[in-house]
Symmetry: C2
Subunit: 383 residues, 2 copies
C-alpha cells in the first residue's frame, strides 16, 4: 500500500509522489509538527485549508499521554485526532534525548524518566516499533541513538553503529507484526511503511558507512538524521549533499528536523523529498513571522500603526485579513489568536514555498527559483 | 443609518432586525465578546463560519491598549480588527468597577488606575462617548455607574440617578459630535447609534424611575444593566419582566452581560432582543462544554475514551470532527486548540439557540420551544 513514484528530476532536485494508506503526498513536501496529536495553535481545519498533506506526530509525547494503548483502542492516531490524511511518526528517540529527565542507554534500548511525572520507561527498538504500530501512522521511523553535536567522532561512530543494530531490530519487529497478531500490540494501520535513518554526524566516512548498513537492512524510505543540531547551514548542506545521492533514487528521502526556508530549498537541491520542523509554528508563537523578504518581529514598535499585512505578497488567511498593527496588538495583549494567526502565516509560507518548488521542478526551472529565492529571502528582521 | 424593525411578536417574544452602517442583525441575537478586539481563542473567520452577526468590544480595554487614538487613525475598530459586520461597544464603566486597581467616583466621572500599569485616568460621560466615537462601533453605550449587588437601596437609587444624569451628558456629547468636527475626536462611524441603560438593581420602583428618566433623554435603543451580578435567575427574570415592557416596542432592547442559555430563552420570553456574555468563551477555556442536555466537563476521567462528540446533536465544527476523548487529551495536555475547539462549540450552541428562537417566533411556536428547551437543558454536568 506504500509506494513512491519519482515523477521528474531537475538536477538533483526531485518531484515525486508518496502514496500511503491515507492518501498521496506530493513531494518535495513539508510536514507540520503535531507534537501531541495537534499542531500547536491551529486546528485540523486550518491544516486542511493550508493544504498540508501530511502531519508529523511525536511518539514520545503520545506514548506518555494519552498513551498508545488508548489511541489504538480509538482506532489509531488518524481516528483519534480526526485527521484523514497521511501521518508520519518519529520513534520517540529524539525526545528521550532532549526532554526526558534521565536517560540510560544500553544495547537493549533507552531507559528514561518521563518529563511529566518522573515515571520510569524503557524504549527499545521493538517497543518503538510496537508503539508506532498501535498509533498506526503511515510512515514509522526506526529508533536511533541521538548524539550531541559536540560529541567526538568515536562517540558518533559508536552511536551510528548502535543505531544500525537497532534499525535491524526495528525492521525485524515490523516484519513480525506484518506476519500476524502479536499479543499486546494492535496494528491499526496494516499498510504502515518504515523508514531507516542514516546517522554519522558531520563525518562523510561515517555517513557512507551508515548508508550502507541501513540499505542492507532495507526500508520503504530513508531519512537523514542527526542534522539541524547546531552545525552551520553550510556543513549541513555538505552532509546532505554527500549522503542523499547514495540513497536509492526510487525511494523517498526525508531530512529530519530541518529547517529554515532556505535550508529547505538547498536540501531539495541536493535530492531531499520530505521535511519537518517545529520552526514555523514555534517562531509564530514567539511573534516571528517568516516572510519572503525577512522576519517580521511583530512586537517591534515600528509595527504599531503599520497597516500592511505581514507579507504583502502572501495569500494566507492572516495576510488577507490582518494588519501588522492588529497582529502586534494581539501579541502584546497576550491574545491566543496571535499564535493562531502567526502560525497560519508561517505554515502557509512553508507550504507555499514547497508548492513553488514542486512546480519549478516540473518546469525545469528549479535552479532559477533557487537563485531568486536567495536574492530576496533573509533570516534577519525585515529592513 | 440605524434602524430597528419589529418583524413579528409571539407573546412578549420579539423577532426583529437591527440595521446598522455595517449590516443587519437578526434579533433576538447573541453577541460574542471580543474584549480586546478579538474573541478569545477564535479568529474572525471562525466567527463568520459561526454566523455571528455582531460582536461586542470592550471600551476600557481598547482605550488602554492599543488606545482609541491609534484605532481611529487605523480607520476605526472594524478596519483595525478586520471585522466588517456590526460592533457594539460598552462604555468602559463596568470594567472600571470590576478591573481597575483604584476608582474614585464623583459627579464628573470615574477616576481610576489602569490594571495594566497603574496609570491614572478619568472616564467622564463625555470621554466615554468620545472614545466610542473614535472606535466607531455601530452601537455605543452610555457611561453608567455600576453598584455591587450587596449595595442597599439607597446606594442603588443614588447610582441610578447619577447614571441618568451621566446618560444625558453622553447624549449631549454625541449630539455635539454629530453636528460637526470636535478637536481631538475622530468620528470613524458617522452612523453610530447610542443606547441608554436602565439601572435600579432589583427594585421595581427604581427600575421604573430609571426607565422614565432614560426614555426622557431618548436613545436609538435601550439596555437593561445591573443584572447578572450574582442575583438568582428568578430575580433577574422578574426585573426583566418588569422593565422590558416599559421600553418602546419599536426600539431594540439589550440585556447586558447575560447569561446561561436558559436565561436567554427566559429573557427573550420577556421581550429582550440583544444579549452578550463572556460565559460561552470563558467556560470553554475552562473545559466546560455547554450542550443541549448539560455540561460536559471535559477533564473528567469518564471522557478519556469517549468516542462521542461533545453534543451528538450539534452541527458545529468541533462536534463534527472531535471526540470527547480527543478534546480531553488536548485540554489535559494544555494544547491551545482545546480553547479554540471548545469555544467554537459553545459559541455555536449559543448562536444556534438564537437561530432556533428566531425561527420559533416567526412560526408562533416560541412557547413550545421554550418548554422543550427546559425539559432537556441543564446547567449541571451531563449525567
Amino acid at each position: 500500500m506504500f509506494e513512491f513514484e519519482l515523477l521528474h528530476a531537475d538536477g538533483a532536485a526531485r518531484r515525486g509522489e508518496v502514496r500511503t494508506p491515507h492518501g498521496v503526498v506530493q513531494t518535495p513536501s513539508f510536514m507540520p509538527v503535531g507534537t501531541r496529536g495537534a499542531v500547536k495553535a491551529v486546528t485540523q481545519r486550518d491544516l486542511v485549508d493550508l493544504d498540508a498533506e501530511i502531519l508529523l506526530g511525536n511518539t514520545y509525547h503520545l506514548y506518555l499521554k494519552p498513551g498508545d494503548d488508548l489511541i489504538a483502542r480509538a482506532g489509531g492516531l488518524h481516528a483519534f485526532i480526526g485527521w484523514e490524511r497521511p501521518i508520519l511518526t518519529d520513534s520517540g528517540g529524539y525526545q528521550v534525548f532532549s526532554l526526558a529527565s534521565m536517560r540510560h542507554i544500553t544495547e537493549r534500548g533507552a531507559e528514561f524518566r518521563s518529563h511529566l511525572d518522573g515515571s520510569l520507561h524503557m524504549l527499545t527498538p521493538e517497543k518503538a516499533t510496537d508503539i508506532q504500530a498501535q498509533l498506526g501512522s503511515d510512515i514509522a521511523m526506526v529508533l536511533d541513538e541521538c548524539v550531541a553535536s559536540t560529541d567526538g567522532i568515536d562517540g558518533v561512530r559508536d552511536a551510528m553503529r548502535r543505531s544500525a543494530r537497532w534499525a535491524a531490530r526495528c525492521r525485524e519487529r515490523l516484519q513480525r507484526l506484518r506476519q500476524g497478531p502479536v499479543v499486546g500490540v494492535t496494528v491499526t494501520n496494516p499498510g504502515q511503511a518504515q523508514f531507516g535513518i542514516v546517522q554519522g554526524g558531520i563525518h562523510p566516512g561515517l555517513r557512507t558507512e551508515s548508508v550502507q548498513a541501513t540499505l542492507e537492512i532495507g526500508f520503504e524510505g530513508y531519512a537523514i538524521g542527526g542534522l539541524s543540531v547546531g552545525e552551520p547551514p553550510a556543513v549541513m548542506y555538505d552532509v546532505v549533499g554527500h549522503t542523499a545521492p547514495q540513497l536509492p533514487a526510487d525511494q523517498p528521502r526525508y531530512l529530519m528536523g530541518t529547517g529554515m526556508p532556505d535550508d529547505l530549498i538547498e536540501c531539495v537541491a541536493r535530492g531531499v523529498d520530505l521535511f519537518d520542523c517545529v520552526l514555523p509554528t514555534r517562531n509564530a508563537r514567539n511573534g516571528q513571522l517568516i516572510t519572503s523578504r525577512g522576519l517580521v518581529v511583530i512586537k517591534n514598535a515600528r509595527y504599531a500603526e503599520d497597516p500592511l499585512p505581514p507579507d504583502p505578497g502572501c495569500g494566507c488567511y492572516t495576510c488577507r485579513h490582518c494588519s501588522r498593527a492588529y497582529l502586534r496588538h494581539l501579541y502584546i495583549a497576550g491574545e491566543m489568536t496571535a499564535a493562531t494567526l502567526n502560525s497560519i502565516h508561517n505554515l502557509y509560507f512553508y507550504l507555499d514555498t514547497m508548492r513553488r518548488i514542486r512546480e519549478a521542478i516540473m518546469f525545469g526551472s528549479f535552479e532559477r527559483l533557487r537563485q531568486e529565492f536567495h536574492q530576496t529571502f533573509s533570516r534577519r528582521p525585515l529592513q
